[in-house]
Assembly symmetry: C2
Homo-oligomer: 105 residues x 2
């Protein structure tokens, strides 16, 4: 595993451990983590494109600023449901969602 990527994941709170531990993840598990991370970044991008503060987005999804911050930082306590719910509320399209999925390595 790329050291830089592990650093990013750990900084985001994912329990990564050493390289062999990461390789111990099944491909399916790794794909899910990768997917959530990329969608989280898209939320941040879209929110900024539409000039929304984290607090404004939080209102739209009935949540709080601190949780939106966690969504965007890829916090492991955040569900895929919440990420996608946030995405759709930033005005992101299904096409953008699909593109991110296709791009996920």
């Amino acid at each position: 595993m790329d050291a830089e990527k592990r650093k990013q994941l750990e900084a985001a709170g994912w329990v990564v451990g050493n390289t062999s531990d990461f390789l111990g993840l099944t491909p399916a598990e790794a794909e899910l983590v990768e997917l959530k991370t990329r969608l989280a970044l898209l939320v941040k991008e879209q929110r900024k494109v539409h000039n929304l503060s984290q607090d404004a987005l939080a209102q739209k999804i009935g949540s709080s600023q601190s949780r939106v911050a966690k969504i965007e930082s890829g916090d492991p306590s955040v569900s895929l449901d919440l990420i996608v719910r946030a995405l759709f509320n930033t005005g992101a399209t299904r096409q953008q969602l699909a593109q991110v999925i296709l791009d996920s390595e």
Copy 2:
């Protein structure tokens, strides 16, 4: 659904009159429900394509037969995380996932 709201949705390009609208969901919420429903169906398709029983798939994702049944039936207690985790464990590709998202009405 009240006429004014219908007018607004139609002006925004939404096809009104389906189940989601009846339930009073926002467009974003409706998209999420639609997405989960379609992905749930893909899980069932993929599982059968690969000749897996619900119990066999359950083992792969560390769950149980009854929960796999709930995933595939679109049970509201099932998270998007679990649906996607199941999907990847049936051998579904990111391409298939993206296609379903693009096809969602």
